[in-house]
């Protein structure tokens, strides 16, 4: 039970420990690391997008190593089948020779699931993750199996214009709490990466936080206060992205076909709570919402043909909308 300032300090210290462990392997990418941790604590899933070689897989693997949790990795390929993810019924013979079907759990049964290059699998396989991500259960045949908390799907994907990719269905995209764009490292970061690569000894990752601690942190995050004007700000932001709304922004009316769903507002406030907690605050600010808006909303809006024709991206549409909103009511 986290109920005192000491507990708050412990929480922030634990989160910082995880970040430090990740920092042993991953150079820079502070926002990406923070986004992944926010998704873990908030109970969501995270989608990392970037060109190959930017350390997406390494980051998630390092996170799995820093947390004392079950970790599995699924490499998505075009011939991957849903059973390869969720598991399948196998025929098993017991000691007396009688045979029966037994469910063999797939790699989805873990606390941390790394779905690498998720958009290389067919939509059918991708959809196999839907139930797990939303309901946190797996149904095989007539039996439904619950997934243990914390359950985090960390997916990576290459940009859609690359060859051999299948765009994720909108329903599945909406189930990701955040979509984080992994950018190229800076010059100094790149120098550090190269220096570490040249060293013979690779740093070892220690497991600094266990499952119970993560659940405590998650529980504490739920207690972070959200003032009415902050909540109102998040709602106004969601409404501004919906072109059919009267309060919609001009750019939303021009470029957005479908605005953010209510899950967007939930994601903003949930991730905002964790972000505040990571900074030792017990209240969400409009600054938190602003900082997380792009990550939480860029995969929830669907641009129309005009936007694609004019080369507009979701970030280019969302940024002016975000800037036009005042903090207060």
């Amino acid at each position: 039970m986290v109920s005192s300032e000491t507990s708050l300090e412990q929480i922030t210290a634990q989160i910082q420990q995880v970040r430090d462990e990740i920092g042993k392997i991953i150079v820079g990418q502070g926002d990406v690391v923070e986004g992944v941790l926010i998704a873990l604590i908030a109970g969501g899933h995270v989608l990392l997008e970037g060109v190959p070689g930017l350390g997406k897989t390494t980051l998630l693997r390092t996170l799995g190593g820093a947390l004392h949790l079950d970790y599995s990795r699924i490499q998505f390929t075009p011939d991957l089948m849903p059973a390869d993810i969720i598991g399948s019924m196998i025929l098993e013979a017991d000691s007396i020779g009688s045979k029966r079907l037994r469910f063999e759990p797939g790699p989805i049964f873990a606390h941390l699931v790394l779905a690498d290059e998720i958009n290389r699998a067919t939509p059918r396989t991708q959809s196999a993750l839907l139930e797990a991500m939303q309901e946190r259960t797996i149904t095989s045949g007539t039996t439904t199996y619950p997934l243990e908390d914390p359950f985090l799907v960390m997916a990576t994907q290459n940009p859609l214009e690359m060859e051999g990719t299948y765009p994720l269905p909108e329903a599945q995209l909406d189930r990701f709490l955040m979509k984080i764009v992994v950018d190229y490292p800076t010059k100094s970061e790149l120098e550090t990466i190269v220096e570490r690569t040249m060293n013979f000894e690779q740093p070892s990752i220690e497991q600094v936080v266990n499952r119970d601690q993560i659940l405590d942190i998650r529980r504490a995050a739920h207690e972070v206060l959200v003032a009415p004007h902050v909540q109102d700000f998040a709602i106004r932001l969601i409404l501004a992205t919906q072109p059919q709304q009267a309060d919609a922004h001009e750019l939303a009316k021009k470029y957005i076909r479908y605005g953010s769903s209510p899950r967007g507002a939930q994601a903003l406030l949930q991730s905002g709570r964790v972000r505040a907690l990571m900074r030792g605050r017990l209240n969400v600010s409009t600054g938190d919402i602003r900082a997380l808006a792009l990550s939480a909303l860029r995969h929830r809006i669907i641009l129309n043909f005009d936007a694609h024709a004019e080369g507009q991206t979701a970030d280019q549409v969302l940024t002016p909308i975000l800037d036009s909103l005042p903090d207060g009511e």
């Binding site: 959200v226 003032a227 004007h229 600010s285 903090d327």
Partner: protein, 515 residues
């Protein structure tokens, strides 16, 4: 528990203190608004006077100002939660104070509700539900108190004066403008009337002041009209030739223009010239100046007397008194001067007519341009009259003067006999010579007209002296333009580049004629 209460008190006092500060600023802003509206009353009264609006208008505007300000103040009062957000925004404190203040009030409300429920439902055996609510609240109580403590630390580390600094409201500029307007109106109103009466409207006072000054000026002119014999003490004349001219001419019939000044002003309409004649009079005057000093000296503000070495301040001693009275005097004198000039024109015509009645036909032909008429008069009247025409007309330059002198130097009797008869039958060479002279003169005129066509700015003094009077007329036209730009000018336009050629051509023609 004590620290929680203390942090709650700190947060609450900070928000309420900030709100008081904001309300004070809003009250100051609305007080300025009320003052601005109230000051509009005196402004209206200063303009319209109490003849049109009663003094109660002041009360009306004051009450209206108070009402507007009170309404504005009541409407713009910020809620405490809004003030907390403003403090957060100023301090960049991540909404900690506003969040703490919100949940502080929520806690107090919830506690009162829970206490009421416990009183009412304790008898209904619903303690279990109540305890569940209390336990649920107790879980979040710790976090809220902790957050409140953080907010109180933020409050303690900041200064409300920095969070909500005093800003001069924009309405203060409006108030300043209205105040300046009232001061200006006050100065204008009580600068134009001797008493502190607020009755008459300001436009009427201004008109009265202007018309009253004009009447005084008329009286002043009549009283200070220079009498005959006083002209010896007057300022020097425009030029020495003109000074001597009336005496030398000794024409008993010549009318002193300055004597006719009051008459001319009285019967100004009778002598009012049409626009073309007025221009010719101006041209005569302008040619006088052009022949003496040129137009540039006029624009330089140097009067004719000044070129002769006289101190302009001495010359302006009598006129400085006029200037102090009003500028309306200038208008009146300008009108008198126009009449005087028209009178002079009439005198010239009157002098030319009886001298040679047989020249009517020729003078009519030449009457289109004043230069032609003067040239004709000069050729008819001989050398003496030629010099007079030169001095009076004045528009002919040195070249034209030479021509007229050449004509004047010839035998007057022969010329008179030549000009008294019809020009039909005269030699071809003399005709061409005359045309050449006319063309040359008109070319000069054209040049003069072009100069006159330029806008003239500035002020200059016109001094006209006759035998016994001198009038100093400050010429008040700030801008003038030559209005006659029609065929009379275009007819005689000779491009400057061709003038030398034409002059040479006619010189050859003249030589051939002489041969």
């Amino acid at each position: 528990m004590g620290s929680n209460n203390q942090s709650a008190r700190v947060v609450r006092s900070a928000v309420e203190g900030g709100r008081r500060r904001l309300l004070g600023q809003l009250a100051f802003r609305d007080a300025l608004l009320a003052a601005t509206v109230a000051l509009a009353g005196p402004a209206v009264l200063l303009v319209a006077g109490t003849d049109y609006f009663p003094l109660a208008l002041l009360w009306l505007f004051s009450v209206a100002g108070l009402a507007v300000a009170a309404n504005h103040w009541l409407r713009s009062r910020p809620a405490p939660y809004r003030v907390a957000q403003q403090i957060d925004s100023s301090w960049d404190s991540d909404d900690q104070i506003s969040t703490a203040y919100h949940f502080l009030n929520q806690d107090s409300d919830r506690e009162s509700v829970l206490n009421q429920d416990s009183d009412q439902e304790s008898e209904r055996d619903s303690d279990q539900v109540l305890n569940q609510d209390r336990n649920k609240d107790a879980e979040s109580q710790d976090w809220q108190q902790l957050q409140r403590r953080h907010a109180s630390e933020v409050v303690a580390s900041g200064d409300l004066r920095e969070a909500l600094p005093f800003k001069l409201p924009h309405i203060s500029y409006a108030l300043l403008s209205v105040t300046l307007l009232i001061a200006l109106l006050f100065l204008v109103r009580y600068g134009t009337q001797p008493t502190l009466s607020l009755k008459a409207p300001l436009p009427q006072l201004i008109l009265q002041a202007l018309l009253g000054d004009k009447a005084q000026q008329e009286l002043f002119i009549e009283e200070n009209q220079p009498r005959p014999g006083d002209s010896d003490d007057a300022a020097p004349s425009l030029n020495d030739e003109k000074d001597a001219e009336p005496e030398e001419s000794g024409d008993p019939e010549q009318i002193d223009p300055m004597e006719s000044l009051p008459i001319a002003s009285d019967v100004g309409d009778e002598f009012a010239m049409p626009e073309v004649e007025g221009l010719s009079a101006e041209d005569e005057f302008g040619d006088e100046l052009a022949s003496d000093e040129g137009l540039g000296d006029e624009e330089g503000g140097q009067g004719p007397g000044e070129t002769e070495g006289d101190d302009p301040s001495e010359m302006n001693d009598p006129s400085s008194e006029w200037n102090k009275e009003s500028e309306g005097l200038m208008d009146k004198l300008k009108e008198a001067f126009d009449n005087m000039m028209s009178k002079l024109n009439m005198d010239e015509q009157a002098e030319g007519k009886p001298s040679d009645q047989g020249e009517e036909s020729e003078s009519e032909q030449a009457s289109d341009a004043p230069g032609k008429g003067q040239e004709a008069a000069g050729s008819e009247a001989g050398s003496e009259e030629g010099s007079q025409s030169e001095s009076e007309g004045g528009q002919a330059d040195a070249a034209s003067d030479q021509i007229s002198m050449e004509e004047g130097s010839s035998d007057p009797s022969e010329q008179k006999s030549e000009t008294s008869i019809s020009t039909a039958g005269t030699g071809e060479g003399s005709k061409e010579l005359r045309e050449a002279e006319q063309a040359e003169v008109m070319g000069e005129l054209n040049e003069l007209y072009q100069q006159r066509a330029e806008d003239i700015t500035g002020e200059f003094m016109i001094e006209t002296e006759s035998a016994d009077q001198t009038a100093h007329t400050p010429y008040a036209a700030r801008q003038s333009g030559h209005l006659d730009r029609g065929a009379a000018l275009s007819r005689d336009e000779i491009p400057i580049a061709y003038r030398a050629y034409i002059k040479e051509y006619f010189k050859q023609v003249r030589q051939e004629t002489e041969k």
